[in-house]
Symmetry: C2
Subunit: 112 residues, 2 copies
Amino acid sequence: MKSNQLYKGSLATIVLKLLEDHGRMYGYQITREVKKISGGEFKITEGALYPMLHKLEAEGLLTVEMEMSGNRMRKYYSLTRNGKKEVVNKLSEMQEFIKNMQNLLNPGIETA
Amino acid sequence: MKSNQLYKGSLATIVLKLLEDHGRMYGYQITREVKKISGGEFKITEGALYPMLHKLEAEGLLTVEMEMSGNRMRKYYSLTRNGKKEVVNKLSEMQEFIKNMQNLLNPGIETA
DNA sequence: CAAATATACCTATTTTTCTTATGCATATAA
DNA sequence: TTATATGCATAAGAAAAATAGGTATATTTG
């Protein structure tokens, strides 16, 4: 990614959607998955991810289970009931955003 | 728009693309156009727009012409040569972003 | 005609969000 | 053995936008 700050504001959506698909994930795993999906273009920084995970947990959208993998700790996050509801909202907002941007990028083509 | 902060980071792209399409526009006109295109969903705040216009001008991407409309002043902005180059970059970044988000939202469907 | 709304510009302060820079610790590869 | 990968975390700073204010003219509406 060159200087792309378009991802600003989309981190919560990305995390919630990944958790919806994968059931449960730990932080480091999320960073790998996002890198993979974006073909190496988008790399979540840990300084952004961990505070976001804590925030979503504090909001009651995620729950945590700590587990040991060998000698290393992992914190597995998964969606709560409210988290599952919130994914739906976030995804529809994202689709709306994309639709509006497509309308901007391709004026004259009716996407609505 | 409910609470949609996905638009964060896309303001410069929006402004540059609108100017590419319209030739020249003044600030207030840009706010109306964006509102119209997004079906009222996305409203640019003036506290974000005017500093952005000044920044893009300072970067040499925009030029300004002041004109009077009756007794009211308008500052018409248009793309410079560098501005026209930058629109191309911004639009390809936006398409890349959308592609990655589509891959995220619809895992399994190859968009690449 | 008065009052509200629309047009048209602006900036200062605060908040949100992310980057950068660290730090700690274990496991694996070179 | 030294660098890289895994795995967590936070603090300080930067960037972008929201909020909240300001000035002034034009038009609509009651």
